[in-house]
Structure formats: C-alpha cells, structure tokens
C-alpha cells in the first residue's frame, strides 16, 4: 500500500531511532507496531470494505449478488476483491453450497462484528456532523 522507500521528508532528529531495541513491549511508541497498525487501518478503512461490513452487519448472511446490489456503485471485480481480502483478514466467512446454480454465502465472523462495532462511532460522527462539514465546505469555497 505504501512505498515509503522514496524521498520523504528529512528526519534529522529521529530521537526514537533505536528505541525499539530497548523496550520490547512499549506498544504505543514502537515504530514497527505503529507501522503495522497504520497499515491495518489503511487496509480496513477502505471504502468498499466499510460498506460491505455495514451491509453484512445489518443483514446477517448475504449472497454475492445481494451484496453487489446493496452496495451502491461497486463493480463485480471490486466486490470479489474486497470479499477476498476481508476473508483473508478473518473478517468474514465464505460458504460455498455445491448446488447448481452456485450459491455462496457471506457472513461476518466475531472479528468482523467487532470491527463493525468499532466503526460505529465513525458512522455516528458522519451522520451527526454531515451538515457541519457541508457548511464548512461552502464557506471555504466562498472565500476562494
């Protein structure tokens, strides 16, 4: 997701440069853990992932095309990709019923449910402050 081998900002005073060699369990400041957490957030805060997550949370179990119809604007390709990633991350289970025509069910795991719960605050924020953000945008655009 991130290259970060590139010419980023100079870091002349990297005080915690080798701090991770000393403290083995300083969770919040260990740069390696921080990077992993950042990466995980970036992965999981993906737009389609969020929408699929919410849809499954409220509907329980859904078929492939049900999700595709419920999530506005997603393509089959992105849906497949998103579902695979989420399955890989342990967020949902994929159950194939060997019948014709094929029938595949998706459902959240407890881990997926917990993530959904964690995002609850963000959804509430978005709903509560939607108008404030729109107003801020209008004001900003008016100045420019």
């Amino acid at each position: 997701m991130v290259k970060s081998v590139s010419s980023r900002f100079p870091a002349p005073v990297r005080a915690d440069a080798e701090a991770y060699l000393a403290g083995p369990e300083e969770e919040t400041t260990d740069p390696r853990v921080e990077r992993l957490v950042n990466e995980l957030i970036g992965r999981v805060a993906d737009k389609w992932t969020l929408l699929v997550l919410e849809e499954l949370e409220e509907k329980g179990t859904m078929r492939f095309s049900d999700i595709g119809r419920a999530v506005d604007g997603i393509s089959q390709k992105m849906l497949t990709q998103t579902l695979r990633q989420m399955e890989r991350d342990g967020l949902l289970t994929r159950t194939v019923h060997p019948v014709v025509p094929p029938h595949v069910d998706y459902a959240l795991t407890p881990l997926g449910n917990s993530l959904s719960a964690a995002f609850c605050g963000v959804w509430m924020w978005a709903e509560r402050h939607r108008e404030a953000v729109e107003a801020a945008r209008a004001a900003f655009d008016a100045r420019a």
Copy 2:
C-alpha cells in the same frame, strides 16, 4: 471520488425507489443522505487524513514540515492536498504568520477533535486485534 454512473449491479427490485419522496426525515434509510454519509466516510477515512489527524490530536499545533516529518512516507504534495481538504472540511485551521521565513501553523478544530475521538475505537480495535488478523492471514495463505 466515486463515478458510480457506470454499469453497477442490476437493481431489479428497488423497493425504496421513491421512498425519499414520502418521508422527509427518515435519516437512516434515505438513499440520498446515505450516499452523502458514505461519501463523507470515504473522504475522511483516507489514509493520510487519519494519520495527520492522529498526529495533530496528540501534538496540538504543528507546522507544515513538522507534520511531514511525523507522518511516515507522505510526500509534500499529498500533505498539502490532505491539509487543504481537511481545512475545507472544517477539520483544522491553517494560520499563516507573515514573517520570513514563512511560518504556518495547523491545529484541529473542535470538529476535527470530535472526528479523532470517533476514530479512537478503530485504533483500539486495530491494536487489539492486530495479531488475530495476522494469524487469519497466515492461515488463509497456508490453505492457498
């Protein structure tokens, strides 16, 4: 951010097709509001936005290049872009001190702080379940 004019999934049974004409304040199901909220989440759940948000939350006020140094891997271009968007959305204030060399301070607004708080649950989730996700990935990859 989303085209969505494209050939998405067919929606043969769109029961709530004109529901938004009837109920004026059915917040949770109004498709227009839902779209706006989704768009807002997509905007705000951006990777760089999240990282800048966290950095400003913990440091208070920061200068342009301070943020650039604190956020690992971000380029000047992306930083400028992210900061502009956040300013436009009312998440932070940009204060230019007219001295030479230029001095520009960035700080979160109350709205920005509230967003940061809303994401708190997600950060905690990521820290708490990081290992579970890694284990799930390993298991998934082993099967394939």
